[in-house]
Symmetry: C2
Subunit: 173 residues, 2 copies
DNA sequence: CTTTCATGGTTCATTCATTGAACTTAACTC
DNA sequence: GAGTTAAGTTCAATGAATGAACCATGAAAG
């Protein structure tokens, strides 16, 4: 969505949230970051997003406090973008939305499935582990390719996600 | 977001979901519909949305199966837009997003609060009633104006929401 | 039986955001 | 010093959002 102008008359926390994460591409950037993507070039290749838009979105997320930009090497200087606690809290709504899309809008079964790694059991829509009954913490969740997975993409992130992967672990390996 | 072109390369149920509800204004229309708004003119006045955009969004929601358009009187012929089960299932992610926005992006406390009416207790972020421990069904949830409520808007829907109101009950009364 | 009103739209010119290609910067590598 | 990689910025063209004006239908008022 957009800038100052937007939704400003709306007396609602949802509108505030959408001013940030309702912008086009933003939630997909967050999804990738939850998977563990951290670098500009990897977001770029995995999302097929115009460079200018990616720059703007990462900056907006950083300004809002949902991501942090930090230097991970000095020579040559390189920065990476990682989710803050605020950003990681988007996991619950993102997962719920994805499961809703899977139920109602996807054709061939889930593209990816999410498992509570210690219990080796698939999470339910709410992110709860049916085995231990707890809401799985992000660090204990594993993404796996599902039956509806598409093998067309050849970018490094897509390739890495052909194998089970712990959420938030830097991607691609 | 947009039409055929969009997110099509994304191998992800979230992308499918965002093609529909990630479009600007769409999730606010859904939020209003969850409150009980049903008529074109009421969405229009409450959202301050351009008429052309509202028409397009309602049509997209109907086409996707999240809303149903139905005649509620014959003379003069008048239609209303109501959420289907698929649409009502968006309550969980919408509520979660709103609570996230409230925690991280809102200044003066919640604009509205959601309560399990039979227990008369405020729901937690996940929509669970702390008193009875169950996920509250939409029909049993009451919206109430919160401490951060803004009293500037004068449209019929805003006026009706100054008082406690059962979700999905036709609005304005 | 003509005018006016209410509702629910469509049309259209302007503004604004997104796209995608090309260019820039900076530092390292050969 | 030529080439490469990473991370951007710039810019012209396209497409969507905006907001005002217009249109259609039916009912109610005069």
């Amino acid at each position: 969505m957009a800038l100052g102008k937007n939704y400003e008359g709306q007396d609602c926390s949802l509108a505030r949230a959408l001013e940030l994460i309702g912008e086009r591409w933003t939630l997909l950037v967050v999804r990738d970051a939850l998977y563990g993507v951290r670098r500009y070039g990897d977001f770029l290749a995995h999302l097929d997003i115009p460079r200018a838009v990616l720059s703007q979105r990462l900056q907006a997320l950083v300004e809002a406090g949902a991501m942090e930009r930090r230097r991970y090497q000095e020579s040559p200087p390189r920065d990476e973008y990682v989710l803050t606690e605020m950003g990681r809290e988007l996991w619950a709504p993102v997962h719920l939305l994805a499961r809703w899309g899977e139920r109602h809008l996807s054709a061939n079964g889930p593209h990816r499935t999410f498992h509570h790694q210690p219990c080796a059991v698939r999470l339910d829509s709410e992110g709860v582990c049916p085995s231990c009954g707890a809401r799985a913490p992000l660090e204990e969740i594993e993404v796996r390719p599902g039956p509806g997975a598409d093998h067309a993409r050849q970018d490094p992130v897509s390739l890495a996600l052909r194998h089970p992967h712990r959420m938030l672990q830097p991607l691609p390996g």
